[in-house]
């Protein structure tokens, strides 16, 4: 068997309630890609029999979660893995249920693609619109609308086309359908395995890719060209006490490139101080690199001794940004404890933290109707546009332009809990 090292990685999320067949879809993907091994399969076969089912119930693979829900335990998101030999996949599996907004936002934050399930018998529902809005809000540009349970509408092409048309009309309405975004429709039956990995027998009229073929060819993260270079400093390496005299002057800025790319010799600016220098070397461990790209964790050496510490950001001098002490953002409230405008929260943005005061709540979004409503405070699952005053300057980009430098979390200082997720608008 070939196990190449040069395969890429795709992170995607699945949304839809259990009734839409999401558990079965995930189970089918794992089963048909031979990710489920014999001992696991035997276990679910046994459980299926115990429950009096004829065939193996693939939704039992996520049964751990269902059992927990029965006990009233809320698990935000579970992560599952499979690989095809050409690509590795990480599924962020957001259980539907009441806690949908924060689960959806959490799962979407690390995904490059969303699979939105629609029950072919029911068509586009409020829930479909909510999922689409949230995926769009969190910046997912590739959406696969999986029209499931086609077996229950006799694999009828007209039903499929009607749902596609309904969905596209809605997508136009919320600005989801536009340049740089891709919406694809796949008819399927997760139960029978039609159009998931195998084509099946019922959908001969459909000429497009199966779900797996689609996933195999979907663009991975950060395929945009010419993004500005953003390098938040995570850790400064100064082994000056080392026995090796050559290391006494070593000063490495360690971090991950959040966007863009960098080459040795390029001129950079350290923010917020504004000092400039040139890249002397780029390393991963001991290995020297001539250049580095988005999502690589590297060590950056500069030609000049500049005072730089964790929380600073290194950018290309030609692509610099102004540090700001005021931001406006779409915030999803994650905590059971409501947002209090009287309190101060901690904003964690890239590797930098700042105290933040809540300014004005401009409006709250009704995620069912997408209406903007007035609001005084926020409770769990609310989404609102809020402005903040910051104690420390942050180096931000709008979220729509940069998911890494446009995002932040809010932390409650008393409990240290993560209570809010923010996407910067300006």
């Amino acid at each position: 068997m070939n196990t190449p090292d040069n395969d890429s990685l795709l992170r995607f999320m699945t949304c839809g309630s259990v009734d839409d067949g999401k558990s079965t879809l995930i189970g089918r993907l794992l089963f048909d890609t031979k990710t489920i091994l014999a001992d696991t399969l035997t276990q679910i076969e046994r459980t299926s029999k115990k429950r009096g089912m004829e065939a193996v119930d693939l939704s039992l693979l996520t049964d751990g979660l269902q059992a927990e829900r029965e006990q009233g335990i809320t698990i935000d998101v579970a992560y599952r893995y499979f690989s095809t030999g050409t690509r590795k996949y990480i599924i962020a599996d957001a259980p539907g249920h009441e806690q949908y907004t924060r689960n959806m936002v959490t799962a979407a934050s690390t995904a490059n693609l969303a699979i939105i399930l629609i029950d072919a018998r029911k068509g586009v529902l409020t829930q479909t619109r909510r999922h689409s809005y949230l995926a769009h809000l969190v910046g997912i540009t590739h959406i696969v609308v999986a029209i499931n349970k086609m077996d229950l509408v006799n694999y009828d092409q007209a039903e499929f086309e009607k749902i596609c048309a309904d969905y596209l009309a809605f997508a136009e309405h919320i600005g989801l359908h536009r340049a740089g975004h891709q919406i694809s429709f796949i008819p399927m039956s997760a139960l029978n395995g039609d159009m998931i990995v195998d084509r099946g027998d019922g959908l001969d009229w459909y000429q497009g890719p199966t779900l797996l073929e689609f996933l195999e060819s979907a663009p991975p993260a950060h395929s945009e060209k010419g993004e500005p270079f953003r390098f938040p400093v995570q850790f400064v390496c100064r082994p000056h006490a080392s026995d090796d005299p050559e290391l006494h002057d070593f000063r490495g800025f360690m971090g991950r490139i959040e966007s863009g790319e960098i080459e040795v010799g390029e001129e950079v600016t350290v923010l917020p101080s504004g000092h400039t220098s040139k890249v002397k070397a780029i390393q991963i461990g001991d290995e020297q690199l001539p250049s580095a790209i988005t999502e690589q964790s590297i060590t950056l050496l500069l030609e000049d001794e500049i005072d730089t510490s964790r929380g600073d950001m290194i950018v290309k001098s030609s692509q610099s940004i102004e540090p700001v002490k005021q931001i406006s953002a779409m915030v999803c409230w994650l905590s059971e404890t409501p947002l209090s405008t009287a309190r101060t929260y901690i904003v964690r943005h890239t590797t930098r933290e700042s105290k933040a005061k809540v300014g004005e709540i401009a409006y709250k979004v009704d995620v069912n109707t997408l209406e903007e409503l007035p609001a005084q405070g926020l409770v769990t699952n609310d989404i609102a546009r809020i402005s903040f005053k910051l104690a420390q300057p942050l180096m931000v980009d709008p979220y729509t332009e940069n998911r890494a430098t446009g995002a932040f979390i809010l932390i409650d200082e008393a409990t240290n809990n993560t209570v809010g997720a923010g996407m910067i608008e300006a």
């Binding site: 890429s8 001992d39 035997t42």
Partner: protein, 311 residues
């Protein structure tokens, strides 16, 4: 010049980069972290990742092993050798010391000690005042792990509360804790058993010899392969065969390394990493399905092997 066609990272490069990022977040956010290091394959990967994250500097944390006293000598020797090669500080705390103190009481002398490690770990956390323990757990190992956070909060009793986990969004990890509380950080959460072996192959990592096929005396017990008459570093010999059990000398290797009394090997002739990668790609049994007697043991494992013609 900015290249026109953007390159993307291979999945191993991406996983490596994410793990390095997580290790650096621990170092940046926590004041007194520690890296749990057993000498096993997952923690050996993390050591390599720590080298890539922090060299030429020293690791901003010591290494620590919670020794059950029932570990394979080969693994303990390898643990010490690797720590010495890296020039990093290794702390060892043992379940046997907890037994002497009376904080661990065994029901029977031959009881598996894996679960008692947590007592010794909490004692060590308190002794050194660690605010974060870095570990090699992976989400693909079992169902409960699929929901584990990368920075996972533990209260002052070391407890994980699945109902009250911090949501994790983007790569903005929250490793804050109050005194007495603790974060468990899992840099290789998103790795699978296959990723670990591919990484070991790519990085040419050295491993304890028990991961590779070797001849060993075993008995068949309860559908599992049980190593017998195993010498410990102390000279003591454990896992005596029970009366009536037939000792077989068989070619085996370990997929996972833990307490001798509850870690079973698998039948294998994979004596190098390339062969193990191939075997991992074609196996029909999960990593823990046939090998961890303290996990839920699968009735199917031996049946499946028999179907494949082993006996």
């Amino acid at each position: 010049m900015t290249s026109l066609t953007k390159e993307t990272l291979s999945h191993l490069d991406w996983l490596e980069s994410e793990a390095i990022y997580i290790l650096r977040e621990v170092a940046g956010q926590c004041s007194n972290p520690v890296l749990l290091f057993s000498g096993g394959k997952d923690s050996l990967c993390i050591l390599r990742l720590a080298e890539k994250a922090f060299r030429p500097g020293r690791f901003p944390f010591p290494l620590m092993h919670i020794d059950t006293g029932h570990n394979y000598k080969e693994v303990i020797d390898f643990r010490d050798q690797r720590a010495a090669e890296l020039g990093e500080r290794l702390i060892v705390r043992s379940v046997e010391d907890s037994m002497k103190r009376g904080s661990v009481v065994l029901k029977s002398a031959d009881e598996p000690r894996n679960k008692h490690q947590s007592v010794t770990l909490l004692e060590a956390i308190e002794e050194f005042g660690f605010d974060c323990c870095i570990g090699g757990a992976r989400r693909d190992e079992e169902k409960a792990r699929a929901k584990e956070r990368i920075m996972s909060f533990r209260d002052e009793f070391g407890q994980w509360d699945p109902k009250n986990q911090r949501p994790e969004l983007w790569n903005l990890y929250n490793a804050r804790s109050h005194k007495g509380e603790n974060i468990r950080a899992f840099p290789i959460s998103n790795w699978t058993e296959m990723d670990v072996w591919q990484y070991i192959e790519r990085e040419k990592l050295q491993l304890p010899s028990i991961y590779f096929a070797h001849q060993r005396d075993i008995v068949m017990r309860g559908g599992a392969i049980m190593p017998v008459n195993v010498p410990l570093a102390s000279g003591e010999v454990i896992n005596q065969p029970k009366p009536g059990e037939e000792i077989i000398n068989m070619q085996v290797r370990f997929r996972t390394v833990g307490d001798i009394t509850c870690t079973a090997p698998v039948i294998s002739d994979s004596d190098n990493v390339a062969k193990i990668v191939l075997e991992t790609a074609t196996t029909t049994i999960t990593e823990r399905g046939a090998t961890r007697l303290d996990d839920q043991t699968s009735d199917a494992s031996m049946e499946q092997r028999k179907k494949e013609g082993y006996f």
